[in-house]
Amino acid sequence: SVHFNDPKYPQQWHLNNRRSPGRDINVTGVWERNVTGRGVTVVVVDDGVEHTIQDIAPNYSPEGSYDLNSNDPDPMPHPDAESGNHHGTRCAGEIAAAPNNSFCAVGVAFGSRIAGIRVLDGPLTDSMEAVAFNKHYQINDIYSCSWGPDDDGKTVDGPHQLGRAALQHGVIAGRRGFGSIFVVASGNGGQHGDNCNYDGYANSVYTVTIGAVDEEGRMPFYAEECASMLAVTFSGGDKMLRSIVTTDWDLQKGTGCTEGHTGTSAAAPLAAGMIALMLQVRPCLTWRDVQHIIVFTATQYEDRRADWVTNEAGFSHSHQHGFGLLNAWRLVNAAKIWTSVPYLASYASPVLREDKAVPRAPHALEVLWNVSRTDLEMSGLKTLEHVAVTVSISHPRRGSLELTLFCPSGMMSLIGAPRGMDSDPNGFNDWTFSTVRCWGERARGTYRLVVRDVGDETPQAGTLRQWQLTLYGSAWTPVDIRDRQRLLESAMSGKYLHDGFTLPCPPGLKIPEEDSYTITPNTLKTLVLVGSFTIFWTVYYMLEIYLSQRKVASRRVCRSGPCHWPQRSQKAREEGTELESVPLCNRKDPEGGETEREDPATTSGLLVPDLLSPDRSAPEHPHHLPPDLLQGEEEQIC
């Protein structure tokens, strides 16, 4: 029943697919109930946001924005040679393009506020990334990041020390203590056989990793598989399939609207928009509540190549699609009734030294680690969320290695997929892989890590130096999880999705932001300029006054005879052009003190001592005579 006059809305199949009903994010029902992202701020961390464009301007949040490339508060994109700095604006449009403005398109959370942090358009360091991830983190609720290390099928990289520290600080202190929500794109390295477990942003426990499917629900040619992917949503596919329609910049070749937004870059912002809808109905969801709701509500669907496997807790996961398709109706109805999960608990095994050879396939090296009840007593960890494995392996061709992890339930995760393009001879040094496929399963039991060499070099060449197992989860029991699953299913009718039903929601903490009001270089330059200008003119005027004083003084020193003031011409007086200013003179007053006084004859309106008032009787002392009677009797030093 929702209608928009935005000209491209009918082409926005990801919002409401008339051609293939059901192939969309199922958001119109949520909009009908006035859930549009109101009160939530999403920040696009990218190459800038053209916030002056009609679709962005009404929802733009300058308070949540910043430009780290130019170090000023305005994240406007800068035109560049390839006319490529439209990326951030397109992502912003997917999230919060304003509706019913007869311009281009509509955003998923068109009632939310959109901010921009420009950081990709210039040299980027670890410290800059860290600043970006926490910038205005009490204003920005969701950070949408459609970028990452190269997707060339041979890079192993992720956030460095400061970036990791900032992600962790963000989930601890961001968003009034509920935790910033970091949404990242899983990567476009599909054609190079890449896997997003080699990307530290995608396989971080602190981020929501989103993959892409095309309009037919299939994994597009560019998409990557990985065991740490939480879910997928729509994006463009191959040439025969439609891409995402969204706002575009209107600089250089831009027209303000595009029908060609694609890649996992286009999927992540849609997920960020849906999370904004969730936060409107329940602002106190923590960063882990959001991850849980995604796991509980993402929908598995028919795709033979997806290799769905259902784990011990009843969740189905695919390396291609995560826990399935995001569904805005399910996400929001679950959020509405969600009560927070228990605190994050974790367990880390000791660093397990192995120094064992990695055999050639079909043989394999297996190493086990048993996690006992006692091991978990301290943390109270009962059921799993993320499982991470940190390994150091030497091998002359890293891409030949295959790493598989089996949880105690037997659930298999391909955490290190072989990569034909990766010929790096340095192997892995403390690289952390992770999986979400054991989500909700019991934590206790034996974990099995299997390493194989699937290369075709003749001598076996790899050695597993050491590894460490880290479990993240909570005190929830399998029964709690099943109960929650049932509760959510009862909410999917939408019966709670009205203003009459609201669970208590704490307001969160007041956390001061670093008041690093750093004067921007531009401001600094302006201040210096104004300052110099002021100083120069001050000096100039002082000099001028000094010199004019000296000149006056040099023309007239009267010690002996009477002072002759320049005769004021009758004519000047009549014309009123006579010079009003007269130098101040020191006169001796009757009591001997020195008073400075203007010559009363030409001073109009100034207060003058009453001894000079006309009606006084002639005073007995010449000093008291009115000036015009003094006739030179008086000594004046000017």
Binding site: P123, W147, D157, L162, A268
Partner: protein, 99 residues
Amino acid sequence: LAGTDGPGAQGLGGLSWAVHLDSPEGAEEALEQQADAVARAAGLLNAGRVGELHGYYVFVPPAGQQRAEAARQQVEAVLAGHEAVRWHSEQRLLRRAKR
């Protein structure tokens, strides 16, 4: 791709160091002063705290200082040996691709 050399690189030619001071419990002002002292000891300027990260600072070479290998190693030695520095890392340009 972000990460290519260009205008606005921190410090001279992108050189900068991130440090984590060893007494992050200290009050902000005390930490700031300690950061200034460590930066001076290494012949650098304290460019300020890293966003919201308590105890983390970025140091950059004074403008005009030649980017010599010897100077770099000198800085490395001072930061590695300074008792107030828990961790330090020379900031390198990261390659990041839009997706």
